[in-house]
């Protein structure tokens, strides 16, 4: 996959999308009109940080700091953000 995401940009959830913890799912979920996506813990970490003030680089830095043992997460994050953008979750 070619990654075109510009990590200097600031991302936030698209309108109509809501991120919340669901006890019944034991997971974070992304809610949107008539639908729900159950998020993996790492997806939830990334989306939680995409709240309209952090740039993509900030998200990477924050998560590298939080999970120092994780190697090469920058690329994973970039990939996820690209996917989230093309799914319309983020803008």
């Amino acid at each position: 996959m070619t990654l075109k995401v510009d990590l200097t940009k600031v991302f936030k959830l698209n309108h109509g999308f809501r991120l919340q913890w669901e006890k019944a799912q034991d997971a974070h979920v992304l809610l949107y009109p008539e639908g729900m996506i159950k998020l993996s813990p790492s997806a939830a970490e990334i989306l939680t940080l995409c709240e309209g003030s952090n740039s993509g680089e900030d998200v990477v830095a924050a998560l590298e700091k939080k999970f120092p043992e994780a190697q090469g997460i920058a690329n994973d994050i970039k990939e996820f953000i690209q996917e989230a953008l093309s799914n319309g979750w983020l803008k």
């Binding site: 109509g16 919340q20 019944a24 979920v29 809610l31 008539e34």
Partner: protein, 384 residues
């Protein structure tokens, strides 16, 4: 929602899933008279409505069971004066709130109150791309009002779904419909071909499009889907009458959907009350937990032990659950039969016949509008 197959929520892997989707049919009252309405044709007899407190109790119990999507529908849910209060409280409980409305009777002040109450998504139904046809189909003058409402919803930054039921009367203007939705700058467009329950079944010959009409529409929709990718999502749902295989109705009986009818009757889908021999529990006097997990009604078509051939030995039974129980009953008189939409069903000829029969009928030829006068007439027909 009968026959719905658009929902993205997937059933839980646990045998009996959680009722993730709670549909509150607040009322059967409606200012519109759409001939494709899937409300029960005897709705004029069903006048009881739950109180605000009773609804809130249902919402709380639903949330405890894992419900996260809450739909307000009807009838026209905005007929209920307590709609804002219900939205506000549901939102506090953590629901994602969806309002499925014609917006008729909702002025600007009221709409702003609904938005302020915290509604997450409003789905506005249109009938056509122009005022004359739109108002004819709806049986009321509402086109300009709806357009204005959409503007206010957009200004408020809400997610906006443009819904239109497609049938013989408007399928030939599908191009105009998509362009119209685009001009309103909506997020999602649902082109949902009528499904034949309630009034829609009574009017099937006037509604069911021909193969040629559907093929033409599909081509047009495809071109616009490609052109508008990433800008406006277009869902196009073709009638199962032309699919030759049944839809996995409601993602399975009692798997993720729980509908509560205006009078408190709990149903696995909103057409289910037509099914004979099943006593559907009422939320007055029964909590949702026992309704969902223990009631005979919600367990009735779970699993596959109820199935007859050809479903019983069919490799698809785990995917399509034998199709829609309501459609099986309405067309064959036996809810345990395979859905006749399936080409393997011994009753598939009924579907083929319906397509042949609908051929000569025009949309306006004797169509029966959904109103209480016609409902009462239909009640008499059923009783006699």
């Amino acid at each position: 929602m009968a026959g719905s197959n658009k929902i993205d929520i997937q059933p839980s892997p646990i045998e009996t899933g959680q009722p993730l989707w709670l549909m509150a049919e607040l009322t059967y009252r409606c200012p519109l008279q759409c001939s494709y309405c899937s409300n029960p044709v005897n709705y004029a007899q069903l006048k009881d409505e739950l109180t605000t407190e009773q609804w809130l109790k249902v919402f709380e119990q639903g949330r405890e069971l894992g419900a996260v999507q809450l739909g307000f529908s009807g009838g026209e849910p905005a007929v209920r004066k307590d709609l804002e209060e219900l939205i506000q409280e549901a939102r506090k409980m953590g629901y994602y709130t969806n309002l499925i409305t014609s917006t008729v009777g909702v002025n600007e002040t009221r709409l702003k109150q609904i938005i302020d109450a915290g509604i997450d998504h409003i789905q506005v139904s249109f009938q056509a791309a122009d005022a004359t046809l739109n108002n004819y189909i709806a049986g009321t003058d509402c086109f300009e009002h709806k357009k204005k409402t959409v503007e206010i919803i957009k200004e408020a930054g809400l997610s906006m779904v443009f819904n239109i039921v497609i049938h013989k009367g408007n399928i030939n203007q599908i191009e105009e419909i998509i362009q119209f939705a685009e001009s309103l700058d909506v997020d999602y467009v649902e082109l949902a071909t009528a499904q034949y329950y309630g009034f829609a079944l009574v009017n099937r010959s006037q509604l069911l499009p021909s193969r040629e009409q559907l093929d033409r529409a599909e081509k047009i929709v495809k071109a616009h889907q490609e052109r508008l990718e990433g800008k406006m999502k277009i869902f196009y749902i073709i009638p199962d009458y032309y699919e030759n295989k049944p839809k996995p109705c409601m993602h399975g009986w009692g798997k993720i959907f729980l509908t509560v009818a205006p009078d408190g009757t709990a149903l696995p889908c909103h057409s289910a009350r037509d099914l004979p021999g099943i006593e559907f529990p009422n939320v007055v006097g029964n909590d949702l937990n026992s309704i969902w997990y223990q009631s005979e009604a919600f367990n009735h078509f779970r699993g596959d032990s109820w199935m007859k051939e050809p479903c019983r030995s069919c490799p698809e039974k785990g995917n399509d659950y034998g199709g829609c129980r309501c459609q099986a009953f309405l067309l064959t008189g036996d809810a345990e039969q395979a859905d006749p939409a399936c080409e393997l069903s011994p009753h598939h000829h009924i579907i083929q016949q319906a397509k042949t029969d609908s051929g000569p009928a025009g949309f306006e030829d004797g169509v029966i509008f959904r109103n209480s006068v016609n409902s009462k007439k239909l009640i008499k027909t059923i009783e006699s």
